[in-house]
Symmetry: C2
Subunit: 434 residues, 2 copies
């Protein structure tokens, strides 16, 4: 097959990021095509759906916190609009997050979180052990104290991606269930011509050459179809760097960071009123309740390549830590254990904006924060598509930050030693885990 079709924007990847961009871009009148072999089945499928910017910011810094806060503020309308347009629920609920510490060391880490949060200008609501249990009576009495973030929310990522697909289609986007096999490029002077370099004699990958030699022109799909588009948004999560045809210098430095989560079922609902994050003997765990009675427990962080096996050790660690702070979970049905692959980056922050290849826009590397950052990512990328200018809010996340000479970290990005204690201890834990 070598049929071809065209669009204004081709979005590679139908997870929460790609679908949000496709929806917003289609709403602005662009002709949008999304390509994904199984939309919503990647990291989005294994995400818990917490909308908790401060927790994620602890892994990076102020700029990411600002981006997360901006996205959090957009969520109520983002979710409401999706449901209004499609009739589909998203599971959005703003019930807050209670972050708790289990032992004395954990309490010290909680204090660091509080200081970090206050350094960002956000007063933290510190709770005593007793106040924690008043807020969440199922907490173990040994919990030492907590921080309450009342503005935090959560969403059901599986409902969200379903609603996003419906909304994108309603706005005119086409979703094709195919993988993108190769990015197509064209001579800069022939922008829009859309012929595959390979057609001119060589292998597509070899011919792609250095960025600067051409511009993005679309993609070749797994079934042989070509989708020609002058703008290509690469939003394929952890696999964004491994699509053929990306010129050197445009490959986003994403890697898969495995996360295992559990879905428990509480009937009737109500074990927890809000999301609970725990620091438990140096490990992190979260419990996210949904109105349906589902309770999501997450998540491991494992550097094992593209491995999505659910393991005995992963499940055990999650249950160990979750039951330490909420013993009552042991009575709940374990409905599912699943693993997903987050797109990690060297600085744990997303990669947003134009790449070195004209026409190729990156929207990947969201690591643990893809659900949180979907609304703002959609807005900034769509702004860029419409105006050729990235909003200031996202300037720090430019792909160009990774193009620096080795040994010179990008300004404003933390290295390992600058991470807060909790993140460092987790990193150490990871290394010791099987």
């Amino acid at each position: 097959m070598s049929t071809s079709a065209s669009a204004d924007v081709l979005v590679i990847g139908g997870g929460v990021i790609g679908l949000s961009i496709a929806w917003r871009a289609a709403q602005r009148g662009m002709r949008v095509t999304v390509t994904d072999p199984a939309p919503g089945s990647g990291a989005s499928n294994a995400a818990a759906g917490m909308i908790t910017p401060i927790s994620e910011a602890a892994y990076a810094e102020r700029e990411l916190f600002r981006l997360g806060r901006a996205s959090q503020r957009r969520y109520p309308e983002f979710a409401a609009e999706l449901t209004r347009l499609t009739g589909e629920p998203t599971g959005y609920r703003q019930a807050g997050t209670l972050q708790v510490a289990y032992d004395a060391d954990d309490l010290a880490v909680l204090g660091e979180y509080q200081a970090l949060q206050e350094s960002f200008g956000v007063p933290a609501g510190r709770l005593t052990s007793r106040e924690c249990r008043q807020a969440e009576p199922m907490l173990d009495p040994a919990v030492r104290g907590g921080l309450l973030a009342a503005e935090d929310a959560s969403v059901d990522p599986r409902l969200l991606t379903r609603a996003l697909q419906a909304a994108a289609r309603l706005a005119g986007a086409e979703i094709i269930r195919q993988p993108a096999a190769e990015i197509l490029t064209a001579d800069a002077g022939r922008a829009g011509a859309g012929r595959r370099d390979a057609d001119r004699g060589g292998g597509g990958r070899a011919d792609a050459g250095q960025a600067g030699a051409g511009r993005a022109a679309g993609a070749l799909l797994g079934d042989g179809r070509q989708i020609l588009a002058p703008r290509v948004v690469l939003a394929a999560g952890w696999s964004s760097g491994s699509i053929a045809g990306l010129p050197a210098g445009t490959v986003p430095p994403v890697r898969p960071v495995k996360g295992q989560i559990l879905r428990l079922r509480s009937r009737p609902p109500g074990l927890l009123a809000r999301s609970v994050r725990g620091i438990v003997r140096g490990s992190s765990v979260y419990l996210v309740p949904r109105e349906s009675g589902e309770l999501v427990i997450g998540a491991t962080q494992e550097e094992l390549g593209a491995d999505t096996r659910v393991t005995a050790g992963g499940v055990w660690e999650l249950l160990r830590d979750a039951r330490t702070i909420v013993p009552g979970i042991t009575e709940l049905e374990l409905a599912e254990a699943v693993a997903g692959l987050r797109p990690g980056t060297p600085d744990n922050a997303p990669v947003l904006g134009p790449s070195a290849l004209p026409g190729l826009v990156l929207a990947t590397g969201h690591f643990r924060a893809g659900i949180l950052l979907a609304p703002v990512t959609a807005d900034v990328i769509t702004d860029y598509l419409a105006t050729q200018r990235m909003p200031d809010l996202a300037a720090a996340f430019t792909p160009r930050r990774f193009a620096r000479p080795a040994g010179r970290p990008a300004p404003g990005r933390p290295r390992g030693s600058e991470l807060p204690l909790a993140a460092r201890r987790n990193a150490a834990d990871e290394g010791a885990r099987p």
Copy 2:
């Protein structure tokens, strides 16, 4: 519908017990019908498949140990014959069992097992901690010691029930995928007439009346069909007592005892060479390796009625204890968690032989030992069907032992206080579990 069919023997229940009986009875020339809505899907489906008579005997006594040993001795030929006749594997392998103790208290329990075993005339191979690790290098070095039972074996219960279905059919048995809704009885003087009592004017259940007023005549199936048979074998596991139409005095005292197990996948196989049973801080756990690389971890014991939910707490306990003695399991894929309902009885021993209702034969209550006891159960029940006489080997398991006046335990049966320490501690654990 009220069509009817007839057989010499109707077996109610297509688990490992019912299918084994059906196969052996059909081999002896009886016309056999088995009825089960989903053969092999009950307790057999969640069984690990250990063939370890001493371990089970610890829960009861000498008579059960004798029965288990007799069954164990029949297993090699039972399994080989099944495969020879059907071409289907059973997963039978005789690799032994290593029972290990984790802490000092556990070691004391192990000593009690050893004494029990030797009192049964079976020398126990006591291993030091070092010898345990020589036999099974993946054991945690903290393991204090063990008992090696070289004759023990295991089978894959899912393969076994599949092979049994094929063998039963090859021998001429019919397997109907319907539940037995009601036991049919007939006047003793009209044996074989097969009319439902209900046809004579009243409700089937109410008319069934006291045993002695008639004899078993078959069963009414869920789809309205009647299967008429002068001999009815009730082998429906934990639900054997709840089928309508059983006259008072014939209802077997079985109750569901929930067991959760995990199936892990080891690639390549070889984490363990043989089944390992652990006594771990007073809890029991076992790990049964298969040649396929599957590793089964079991099992909880929960008295929660007919509840087959997999729970967070059950999975956590199994993983906790299993990883304590074999830390390497954490790296394995967790392929499945499943719960089954064992047929428990007041004395933890099976109920085998003729009931107070002529023509109704019981083969249930095998509790944790259904897989182990299948060959011998099939033989003794088939002997009874052919000769109207129960072999001596099974005499202690007569249903009549439960018909005694309250307060007088059957002779030779242990009560709670006579159970070995491990069983008592487990029983105490159960009470404390959610």
